[in-house]
């Protein structure tokens, strides 16, 4: 399947006029007919006129979710994906609107003055929005925790980043490796996790550039007043990000500060560009570890060794199976801690228990999946089908201990 033609379609309309602003996800040659768009919007509008909020509908093969933002923008998502659930789609709508705010600012979205102008401006968000529709191996959009990566020499890099950020008259600095946060200054961590992820995904969605000076509106911290996001590509796949006010100029930071602070660290940075693989049991296909206290996550899809036997999932589906498993577990079994009131419980727990589960697993012909929680951590594992079921629990406990203890996450 080519990217961008997934089974998820997203519609964005101006709420009051019903004018479609954009449609993403569905292959462009099979764009939804205007009558379908009109009906989807009409049924939602009909409800809201009667003070009924229509949030979701399920048909045999498709789920539809509606959400209106600031009584100005309506987003509608439809998914015929296997394993799609309301939790995932609800997060998607939230991320998409935040992405629109990040690029355009809330003012332009909440008070639409010129629909045609807005349509044109929204094109600048397409790449970022598309990355939410085809998230591949990423998980931060679902977990709303900052996607991190472990790198060697993090102490040295942290010190250098703090000094560099200070020299650039800023407090917000971050080093991204492959689009994930390797080190960041303390104020950067205090941004909302969603904002940190959005900034990282934004950098990944833009055209590859050596440096950038990009106005961003932080959806929670500063939705009306833009800040300058400066990015500096130190090495391919390795970017420094700064959030600044009116000064300093891009030119000054690049020519005066970047060589002074980062040139001496060329070797440690080179080592970061190819982070060491996490040595885990060969049966592990993918993992996701969340620290709810710090709002950080660590995840990877692991390439299988040659000794793999039997049917194996391709790498791409490993990632999507793990995402579906995560969504299933947090919407049915694990209480979604750390996000009180953020999302109402969308579904009743399967089996109807009122207690909160600490472990759960799924066994299927193609894979096994195991989830364990030991506050503040949650671990989600995707394993090869040949791993014996009785070994799942000790394996998960062992991996959790290793990642939390030795890798010090």
């Amino acid at each position: 399947m080519e990217p961008g033609s997934g089974p998820v379609s997203l519609l964005c309309l101006a709420a009051t006029s019903g004018v479609p602003l954009f449609c993403r996800g569905a292959p462009t040659r099979h764009q939804l007919p205007f009558s379908v768009i009109g009906s989807l919007n009409g049924v939602h509008m009909f409800g809201s006129n009667l003070d009924v909020a229509l949030t979701a509908a399920h048909t045999e093969g498709t789920r539809v979710l509606w959400r209106a933002f600031h009584e100005s923008i309506t987003l509608i998502v439809m998914s015929s994906e296997e394993g799609a659930n309301d939790f995932t789609l609800s997060r998607l709508l939230d991320n998409v609107f935040s992405a629109m705010v990040l690029v355009l600012g809330l003012e332009e979205l909440a008070n639409i003055r010129n629909v045609e102008r807005l349509k044109k401006d929204l094109r600048a968000c397409y790449k970022l929005i598309d990355s939410f529709l085809t998230p591949a191996e990423r998980t931060g959009d679902l977990t709303q925790c900052v996607e991190c990566v472990l790198v060697p020499c993090s102490t040295t890099l942290q010190e250098c980043l703090t000094a560099f950020t200070g020299a650039a008259e800023s407090r917000f600095g971050c080093l991204l490796v492959g689009g994930r946060v390797a080190v960041a200054t303390e104020p950067w961590w205090q941004l909302a996790p969603q904002e940190v992820n959005l900034l990282a995904w934004l950098v990944g969605s833009l055209l590859p550039s050596t440096t950038r000076d990009y106005p961003v509106y932080l959806p929670q911290g500063s939705p009306m007043v833009p800040h300058r996001l400066l990015t500096f590509q130190l090495l391919p796949g390795l970017d420094i990000c700064l959030l600044c006010g009116p000064s300093p100029s891009l030119e000054a930071v690049e020519t005066e500060l970047v060589p002074r602070f980062w040139k001496p660290l060329l070797e440690p940075l080179r080592a970061c560009a190819r982070p060491p693989s996490v040595p885990l049991h060969p049966g592990v296909l993918a993992f996701l570890l969340i620290n709810h206290e710090q709002k950080r996550s660590l995840s990877a899809v692991l390439p299988r060794g040659v000794q793999a036997e039997g049917p194996t999932l391709p790498l791409g589906s490993c990632a999507s199976v793990l995402r579906a498993f995560y969504a299933l577990v947090v919407s049915h079994y694990f209480s979604c801690e750390g996000s009180p009131g953020e999302l109402p419980p969308l579904e009743v727990p399967l089996g109807g228990g009122s207690h909160s589960a600490r472990h759960c697993y799924v066994v299927s012909a193609g894979y096994k999946a195991y989830a364990a929680q030991a506050p503040p951590h949650q671990l989600f594992l995707l394993l090869a089908p040949e791993v014996p079921t009785f070994a799942l629990r000790p394996l998960a406990t062992h991996i959790l201990q290793y990642l939390v203890g030795d890798a010090a996450f």
Binding site: A124, D213, P215, P236, L250
Partner: protein, 260 residues
């Protein structure tokens, strides 16, 4: 001021054995290599060359193809759909060339500054940031958009402002879309006579993709970008020589200020 092509830089030098050795430093697997800010092309010690860095501001009306041109010059994939660039994005292109006079090989480090028109109007800091310490400005117009061509004089005066000696080069984009051409060769010739500025031509993204399939350097696309990159390098080098007093200044024409 116009420097005749081939007067400063040896044309087609990249096809010679020495040129190929330099070329290898900027290529990887027949594609252009991407360099971060703290790296540079590595050459074998016996051919080590100097690097000359320049800042080039890319200016032009919305939709003429500023971002697409820079992507093409850098050997990056040209985006298939258009949207206005938000803020500033800069791209570094390394370009080896041999100087005719001294016989020396020099690696030109050209940093292209690209920003969207809307961003220029919305945020005050963008135009000064692009102009700050710029060595050259590329003025773009599109052969398929008459108004972008007619706007050139106004744009030149607006963007150059009171900046001192700057290399000024005009680039006409989407040159291959004859069906939609809105600007004729005669228009361009007349413009050149009045303004004494060099004019280069660039293909549209779709055109390059088609041509790319026919030529042997399909992966690198170097053949297509070489004339413009060489031309830009020649003008920049010439300007430096003039500024250093090594060669006499060109005859001042009414709209040009001499070197200080």
């Amino acid at each position: 001021m116009s420097v005749p092509p081939g007067s400063v830089i040896v044309p087609d030098w990249l096809k010679s054995p020495e040129g190929k050795e330099h070329l290898a430093a900027i290529l990887r697997k027949n594609k252009r290599k991407v360099f971060g800010l703290i790296e540079r092309p590595v050459l074998p010690p016996q051919v080590a060359s100097d690097t000359a860095s320049y800042k080039v501001f890319v200016s032009g009306k919305s939709g003429v193809g500023k971002t697409a041109l820079v992507a093409k010059l850098a050997g990056l994939e040209v985006p298939s759909t258009h949207h206005e660039t938000i803020g500033i994005q800069t791209t570094v292109v390394y370009w080896p060339a041999k100087l005719r006079e001294s016989g020396r090989a020099v690696i030109f480090r050209l940093q292209f500054w690209d920003c969207g028109e809307a961003a220029l109007r919305k945020f005050d800091h963008i135009l000064p940031a692009c102009r700050e310490k710029a060595d050259a400005i590329l003025f773009l117009f599109s052969f398929t958009d008459r108004s972008s061509f007619d706007d050139l004089p106004a744009q030149i005066s607006r963007v150059v402002g009171d900046a001192g000696s700057l290399v000024r080069i005009v680039v006409g984009t989407k040159f291959d879309q004859f069906m939609h051409a809105d600007v004729t060769e005669r228009d361009v010739a007349e413009f050149q006579r009045t303004w004494h500025l060099p004019v280069f031509r660039a293909q549209s993204a779709a055109g390059s993709r088609q041509a790319g399939r026919r030529t042997p350097d399909a992966g690198t696309g170097l053949r297509e970008v070489a004339p413009l990159l060489n031309g830009l390098a020649e003008h920049l080098w010439h300007q430096d020589q003039v500024a250093a007093g090594l060669i006499p200044a060109p005859l001042p024409s009414p709209e040009e200020t001499g070197p200080c």
